[in-house]
Symmetry: C3
Subunit: 445 residues, 3 copies
């Protein structure tokens, strides 16, 4: 939040009760005696000069994504979102016609700084009306984007202008507030990151990951937005592992990872291997240091944003993924049958006479399936499987890797977070994993 | 919690180890050296004189609900709950035979004050036994209401007496602890609010909202309590939008909203538009100020109560709703088919020969459905739709509106939170929403 | 965490940046000026002398479970886990072929102390490969157990050696990171508790409870690991009520209960009756006192560990259970039909001609079902039902009882937390539950 003093020295002299209240209920209480004075309109606050990327803030990295460009017109940061159909690849082998913004799903990340005045044009190129809700952002009621309640829907072909001053910082989101089931179910969502104006510290690496979930039946070409319960494509920034770009950082970096969840129903517990983090931000609000604790898993509920920070002090390849079993699997793992423990030789023989080349899968577990060369339905991805330095990584969906290295290409290198090509190996103690010469204790354990 | 000193001056001289422990584990630790002295029975604590509404506390408002009347008999607050079948309207068009208390679901809100001694008669007018568990409330074991473990079930036709002293404050609940699946699935639940005895501050407006979920198949007359997964009527105080009463507050008010969740399986993330709040209470315990942070979404898990507070500093109409997509829709949005992108003209023609007036819905999205005059099955509600100042609000279910106004009818006005009738309009910046004369930046964005 | 000073006096002189960073991001910040110095390898830290149970820490009690024995070899604590098929009883009447460790599911609890150096042999006696991930534990990358990424899978018949120094304390877990769907779905998981080295206080009683969920269709002999949505056996340490061992404690004890959740998809809100607790640990990190609040329900998400502490100041039998309705029911409550309110006499007559002895169940609610002598399918358990001092406790699944007594058998008594045999009765105010002679207030309430 912009402090009273800072706002004054920056020339925003017209401190309103409204802006002051934002710095916390306690302060509000101190300021307001028994009979509360009604706050002035929140539209009174003066904007500050537009902040510059690199100089005033470290830009966010959106893995598999981009930030939305802007231009400054008369001291206003002007953005342009275009709602439209998108031909999207979730992972090699699986494409679908989705809806998104500016040619992509998730939409581009909007980045700005506390005190900036922003103007955002939204052009509707969908076959039905839409609107944009700026989720978590303090703004005048008419800018809130809720069709019917605060504005008319934007008809196909038209452009709507949203405009407001950013009076807070934090991880926020944008999404339609019209026919949400369809429009969000088809991929319309994006990050809206507001950096603090003059932070005491900045992360070295700052990542933004949007979590979402889809129902795409094998062979179909569109996600089904009417699915309510059982989703079969789980994504980070609309990509499923192995297509999720890893987060590559330098040993010793202070890393911030911001998660946003605009899925339909699942609250995702994201688990980080190898390091402890502190949750520093919940739904756009800074968590006070006195309330922070170390941990390794963060529950990001639907409609929530949460961020954690850690020091990348452990070199190697560390998984970061949703811990719900079926959220780290892809399409083909869903809707199978339990064959564990079934003696399949006889069955295979019977089936073979009907279906040449029939083979029962899963009778000793499902572990081989990622690796198996089996015929796949058109437009589908197997249940899991990425290539790792020690064989197949039998994960899918909401799974990615944090790669911590001593030396890195410069952050600006465009190929910087490409998939590694064969050069990746655990830097730590692979030598220690020698399975010869073990001494197993004898007595009972 | 009642402090040691306060309890003493109020005459409750017999401070027990039990009551002292309540003020926190740390304090308990200080009081108890290495070898812990077993606490005295918690039944020792003396009750305090019964507190008066208005004078000693600001009564809670239960939107679409009421508080349970009581009478004071020999210094005891005496309440009477009647468990019975209820003919309930969820929203215009949808009624069902439910089970509840005193003619309603959710049951009436029980309100009392820390230190009050309460006696609650429970009369069973159901066709099967029942009991009442006072969820979250510290009391003697025999009063806990768990049939089989702490009491026999209350047979149909009989009345049971519960009695205990309130040794804490906070947002709590009551519900059966016998055949929970049926009895809670049919609507038996209510709020039990215990106000602090001498709080430093009081909210100007204090709301209590019970979240629950139901399965009511179109055309049936009873909720199905056996549904485990897919609920199709999502409610606040047993009402679905547009039947949910808005929360009307005055500009500048300090507002507290208490949520309770006694649904069967969904943890609901409630999102507030337009203002930041602080979570001040979790499961009846005050959140220390050092641990509070600003936010806009609160996850209320099944069996939990959580409350937030905010200053109503932003005039206008602000949505407050569960963010799970299908929880802001009503019955008819469930169990439909994905028609997005399907060229329907041909299909319509074919179908028309079979079903006159057939019309494919949803081929350009589902946005028009709220508004559509189509034949509905008996006893059902469309997927969504309330009337707003700017057209249809295409939401349903667990959705309501916080209305912040400069001038209000007095709080006592019984018609006070009726639905607004055409006079509601955004007070903020509607004028700014002029879509003529926009200047769209040219280069690439 | 091990403090800098303590580590020094214990002879672990080589304080590394890595270990120092562990004590919190704030401290890390203080230590690292603008240009962060890359941390040294985390493998540098010196182990401490192995700690002794009883002397250096109070051992954890795993209800229905055991701790894994170890032997000390050259200052190293050596454990041996054997992954294998297990014939497991969930509750009397329901057995299934599961997968687990050392003859049981959940696997035995691994217990050690901060600073211990541990070596864990894992022998694979399953029909498919496996690996072990030490969930939440800080260790070298090659020890992380993620097949494909940090190691090759352990083939059937082989033994793998994991070895690392424990640089933290807290409640952690172990589970496979290969074919997780099958291996965790069949029961492979266990607790890994690391006690602090020199804690200021210790709990008098310390319990560890692993939450998991299964799909076992009546009549089948194996859990179905492919189920994604609807589980019908919900367990604490792989037992369903009434088979869950109660937690027996002495009046006045400081009690710690650690929950771990390695189910496939449900986040469980565990509700404690009768006492307030404080959440003291989340995902292995101590919650600072300034951020703790009193409560009665704790949401344990998938992949999470959380612990609470309370003073057992209320004598009696207090339920502790998941609050999701269908998680406190067993198999047979699932997949039934709604008969509430159906006039069944006519139907019964019709059915009787087809099915002699047919009886409609549930037409006045489901409350009688726990008690009903009805024919059950082979290998199945009824929806609920344990014997209590006041009749049937109609709960099942993820439900247990905290028994608080003035006098107890010594903790070492092996029969100590057997089921009570008829001697249990509420010690508190049963006498007060006299339903004769009640005075019901007349006017309106």
């Amino acid at each position: 939040m912009i402090s009273r003093r800072q706002a004054l020295t920056d020339g925003a002299a017209a401190i309103t009760a409204g802006s002051f209240l934002l710095s916390g209920i306690q302060q509000a209480q101190a300021a307001q005696p028994a009979t509360a004075t009604p706050a002035q309109s929140i539209t009174d606050q003066q904007p500050m000069p537009p902040a510059q990327p690199g100089k005033d803030y470290t830009p966010v990295v959106t893995p598999n994504g981009v930030s939305l460009p802007f231009k400054i017109v008369d001291g206003v940061k002007v953005f342009h979102l275009i709602a439209e159909e998108v031909d999207h690849e979730f992972a090699p082998g699986l494409r679908a016609k989705c809806w998104g913004y500016n040619g992509r799903t998730s939409g581009p990340t909007i980045e700005a700084v506390e005190g900036d005045h922003v103007r955002i044009y939204v052009t509707n190129r969908l076959p039905e009306p839409t609107s944009v809700h700026w989720h978590g952002i303090l703004l005048p009621n008419g800018m809130d984007g809720l069709t019917g309640l605060t504005q008319k829907a934007i008809p196909p072909g038209e452009t709507f202008k949203y405009e407001f001053t950013l009076r807070q910082h934090g991880t926020h989101m944008y999404h339609p507030h019209f026919d949400e089931m369809t429009q969000m179910g088809l991929g319309m969502m994006g990050a809206f990151i507001i950096h603090p104006r003059n932070p005491k510290t900045r992360p070295d690496r700052d990542f933004a990951i949007m979590l979402s979930e889809w129902r795409i039946d094998p062979g179909t070409s569109r996600p089904n937005p009417l699915e309510m319960i059982e989703f079969n494509v789980l994504t980070m920034n609309s990509k499923a592992f192995p297509a999720t770009a890893p987060l590559v950082v330098k040993l010793g970096d202070r890393v911030k990872v911001r998660f946003m969840n605009l899925g339909a129903m699942d609250h995702h517990p994201i688990h980080l291997h190898g390091m402890n983090f502190k949750v520093t931000e919940i739904n756009g609000g800074d968590v006070p240091e006195a309330g922070q604790s170390l941990g390794n898993t963060i529950l990001v509920a639907v409609g929530e944003t949460r961020a954690f920070e850690f020091i990348a002090d452990a070199p190697g390849d560390w998984a970061m993924h949703c811990h719900m079993t079926h959220h780290v699997m892809n399409q083909m793992g869903h809707n199978s049958q339990n064959m564990v423990g079934v003696k399949s030789a006889k069955l295979d023989k019977k089936m073979e006479s009907l279906l040449p080349a029939y083979m029962t899968m899963g009778d000793t577990g499902m572990g081989g399936m990622s690796d198996m060369a089996m015929p796949m339905p058109e437009n589908s991805i197997p249940m899991s499987g990425g290539k790792g330095p020690f064989g197949v990584i039998d994960m899918g969906g909401m799974f990615t890797i944090v790669k911590i290295r001593k030396d890195l290409p410069t952050y600006e290198d465009p190929g910087w977070y490409d998939h590694p090509k064969g050069t990746v190996a655990s830097t730590a103690t692979t030598n220690d994993l020698n399975r010869d010469n073990i001494e197993i204790p004898k007595s009972g354990n």
